[in-house]
Point group: C2
Chain length 227, copies 2
């Protein structure tokens, strides 16, 4: 692959669901803050990926101090986030000058594999985009106006990150006006009329949003290291 | 509550997704086979709940030996399962002679709380049924004919067990001819035209289907015991 590669890692969450006052992306997992695991894995997947980290302005200094404390040497561009995830991604994309491929990734998904990162980039180069999605294995119900109905779970997938795109395409998509249904990058690109290309998600690629998630991540991390 | 209470615990899964050759319901969690945790919690919720355990015929003897080995004293009726979950539940329901309330529960959900069991029974007494459901917190896509579209996740819920019903209603529902869309008890009852009443599910109430799930369950079990 000859195209230039970028990864925009967003970590703007306030962590309201965590009991800790430290935003979840900074919590320590297996001896290292979550966000460092995330950046480290992208760097391991390909050291040529240009890393763009988007953080709330209030967390910039804390992060810089963490990098010193942990002697974190992986090169990355540090950018201020916006009021929503959409605006944070947009700020990250503004840093991309040379066209190529860009992966957008949740900072609180530290257990992403280098394999999935590779697959996302390779698939996006061919199809324009690549979105990891995981089939739902539990029974599913649709709820509207206080009434619920059973659904065929075989047709429903949970979306993960990294979501990878041709950068020109994604930058154009992010020029659209923000609406609340933009919960991920695929929905933003789809609103422009693009067809979304799914790749296989991974159960282990969890998003850490609760104290239990952190414990699960510890378990998974040990598993991964043993393999 | 004066109505008679039953719990049909089904554990017919072959455990194809587990690397262990022992069916997952017998795997040891915190020193006790998963299925014993499950039965124990129903017994703790209310010792008057009549427990009906449905197992594949090939596992009956193994279970009996486990009960001796672990000196498992909780009284339960042991019934042979059918070819699908539907048929196993039906076999369990056939044991109910006196009308009351019945909870159907996945044997491989050992972390169900006594609180949720209580709520399911109380709600089913009032509304005819009570189905625990958990709101989806990740982005969701619908896939059909090779194309996927973004959905508003706020309208979608993952269904858990125990699913609790007035026993007459559930027995009548299970007299219907089996179809593949019957993935849980709510879908069977709904097919009869009944309105389904959702109660709040719990993240910790996981279904153990993979080796990682067992590790997660160990973590959750420790958490639960510490609280």
């Amino acid at each position: 692959m000859m195209e230039k590669k970028y990864a925009v890692v967003v970590a703007g969450g306030r962590g309201e669901r965590m009991t800790s006052t430290v935003p979840k992306q900074f919590l320590v997992l297996g001896g290292l803050p979550i966000l460092m695991h995330t950046l480290k894995t992208f760097n391991e997947a390909d050291p040529k990926i240009k890393l763009i980290l988007v953080l709330p302005v209030s967390e910039i200094l804390f992060w810089k101090q963490l990098c010193i404390q942990y002697d974190f040497q992986i090169d990355h561009l540090l950018i201020e986030g916006g009021t929503t995830r959409f605006h944070s991604v947009k700020n990250g994309l503004d840093q991309i000058d040379e066209a190529g491929l860009v992966a957008i990734h949740d900072g609180v998904r530290p257990l992403v594999s280098t394999k999935m990162i590779h697959e996302a980039f390779v698939t996006a180069e061919v199809h324009g985009n690549a979105i990891p999605a995981l089939q739902i294995t539990e029974s599913l119900r649709h709820v509207a106006n206080g009434k619920s109905t059973s659904l065929d779970r075989n047709h429903y997938f949970l979306v993960q990150t990294p979501q990878c795109f041709k950068s020109d395409l994604l930058k154009k998509a992010y020029d659209q006006t923000y609406v609340e249904t933009f919960t991920d990058d695929a929905s933003v690109v789809e609103a422009m009329g693009e067809t979304i290309h799914l790749i296989k998600g991974a159960r282990l690629n969890i998003k850490i949003t609760t104290p239990e998630d952190l414990l699960i991540a510890e378990v998974y991390l040990k598993e991964t290291n043993n393999n």
